[in-house]
Symmetry: C2
């Protein structure tokens, strides 16, 4: 049986997550049972939601169990199969976790999905044509519901969600303004991702300064906001929202580490008659086919060309993950396992 390096959650963070929370171990993969397939992972996806699962707190998913392989999305190749549904050599996306191989019960609906790499590179199925892309699609179409000519803003603009959001919004005739950290990301957002403007939040010391920059970038106000970070950025955007604006909420990176971040002026929800709605994209699986079809088309036609940050080898995953939480990645954060 193949040797399978894997990374476990060894203990929970008390404040910021650290390398010491993780542990690398190596096991043999068990022999396959009937109905199971063995998948050799090519790429592992690192995503902010994983930080939430490291806490033993009320969250939208169960906490990551201690002493078990860290969960996570993977793409790879079937190398052995005792299921009629999959054959060796087929490429699949699944939730294989932070390890080199996974053994999967192939009959569980949604456990593995075959993918086609003729028009879409394999790792894109973890980003633009995967969970982050569908997240952008759902927030844009089901919560923000944009009209042509409206102004939309997204934070973490150059990440997997932000880049898909820009492409989806531009095809609907919207003005799209990004918020990102640092001049390189901002330049990339406008040069490559189609953003009309991108604001470097690191250049703005407080809510008022960031809000002024948003006002300059959004002279007609903000109609929709896709929230990825929380804290000062959310406060600043809320000050510039138009009446009847919509805020889609799918992550608050700033919240995952340490203490809760308040929303300083919730009365704006009333005075501007805003709608703010949180969602988890895995609770809307019925919409994934429609979303993935559009995202595939955007990639195949060159309208969505997301950037990736690729860490090399499973052992590099914890450090890459901690960097992601601090915004050190540039584009979709992956770990190459082959």
């Amino acid at each position: 049986m193949p040797i399978n390096p894997q990374i476990l959650l060894d203990n929970r963070p008390t404040a910021e997550a650290t390398l010491g929370n993780f542990k690398l171990v190596t096991l043999e993969t068990p022999p396959l049972q009937d109905g199971q397939v063995l998948v050799r992972h090519h790429f592992l996806s690192l995503d902010p939601y994983m930080r939430g699962r490291m806490n033993d707190a009320k969250n939208y998913t169960a906490p990551q169990p201690l002493g078990r392989v860290m969960g996570g999305g993977t793409v790879g190749e079937v190398v052995e199969s005792r299921s009629p549904l999959f054959s060796p050599g087929e490429l699949v996306v699944g939730m294989g976790g932070w390890q080199t191989y996974s053994v999967v019960d192939a009959a569980i609906p949604g456990a593995l999905r075959k993918v086609d790499t003729r028009h879409v590179p394999l790792p894109y199925y973890l980003g633009a044509v995967g969970m982050p892309g569908v997240t952008a699609w759902y927030g844009l179409l089901k919560i923000i519901e944009p009209l042509p000519g409206q102004t939309l803003v997204v934070s973490a603009a150059t990440g997997a969600v932000g880049s898909a959001f820009a492409a989806l919004a531009k095809t609907r005739g919207c003005r799209v303004v990004g918020i990102a950290g640092g001049p390189a990301k901002c330049q990339y957002a406008t040069d490559e991702l189609g953003f009309d403007v991108c604001i470097d939040y690191k250049q703005h010391a407080d809510t008022e300064a960031l809000s002024s920059a948003l006002k300059f970038a959004c002279p007609d106000g903000i109609d929709g906001y896709f929230e990825n970070v929380g804290g000062m950025v959310l406060d600043a955007v809320m000050l510039q929202m138009n009446a009847f604006g919509r805020i889609a909420l799918c992550g608050m990176i700033a919240r995952y580490e340490g203490k809760p971040l308040p929303m300083n002026n919730p009365a704006l929800l009333l005075t501007s008659r805003l709608k703010m709605q949180g969602f988890i994209v895995t609770e809307h699986l019925d919409l994934w086919p429609e979303a993935l079809q559009e995202l595939t088309m955007l990639v195949a036609t060159g309208k969505l060309r997301p950037r990736e940050s690729v860490a090399q080898g499973l052992a590099a995953a914890p450090d890459a993950f901690l960097g992601l939480l601090k915004g050190k990645n540039f584009g979709k954060q992956l770990v190459k396992l082959i």
Copy 2:
């Protein structure tokens, strides 16, 4: 021409509103022009939104101009008419302001509405069968969208909005829990207004204590919340909201006075996948007839019997208004002008 005592906004509050912000003056009403009617007010409505208008700040309505009659809802009788639309002796509801008479251009749509006092007492058109009642109706039906058996919570439970909310929610088969200040209001809420339980927030020193009381009162969690106050109450309710809960936001009394109140844990909007939406009921005039019809029926059949706090005489309006902002009223706050 009749003598018309009126109360002006003389200067704006710097923190809490005070009696010194208002000024009582007396003028003659001007002669009527063609198309105008003269209305003698019987009751003036006092409402929390008026506090927001006293500030010179971004709000959902234009600020109350200085040196002008305070705006406000009124019911009264047409005493003179140069319009074919209204005759002397007819009872009408309108926005006559803090004064004894108003001169109204009768052709402006919605400026005056005739009312029928056979089944509904005249002052109810400022409360249960008026703007506050429609506010409760809109928040319940258009934002919370309750299902039978769900648990709903409303703050400021014995006020004009809260009492209508309870009656509307009970007819839809919901469990309705109120939050109010003091044992007398809480007893009234359960004895007379149909609440299943009412929690006295003054008995709970902090968010955690209030949240525990809510958990006890709502063993199946909270599916919908009608928010009237903000601050600690909102924080406590959010901790007990079920997944996919809805929060309708039409007022934040606690916000009107002094500094903004933060929402301490907005990440709950994400982890519980909540929808929170602010609204202003005067922006949805197309729905008023449907809402008023149901509210009239609830009053006529005795299912909605709201309580009123009535101040005597125009000169008492400022003090009654300041009391309303501190929760000293018990039920809908009115000023009797006749």
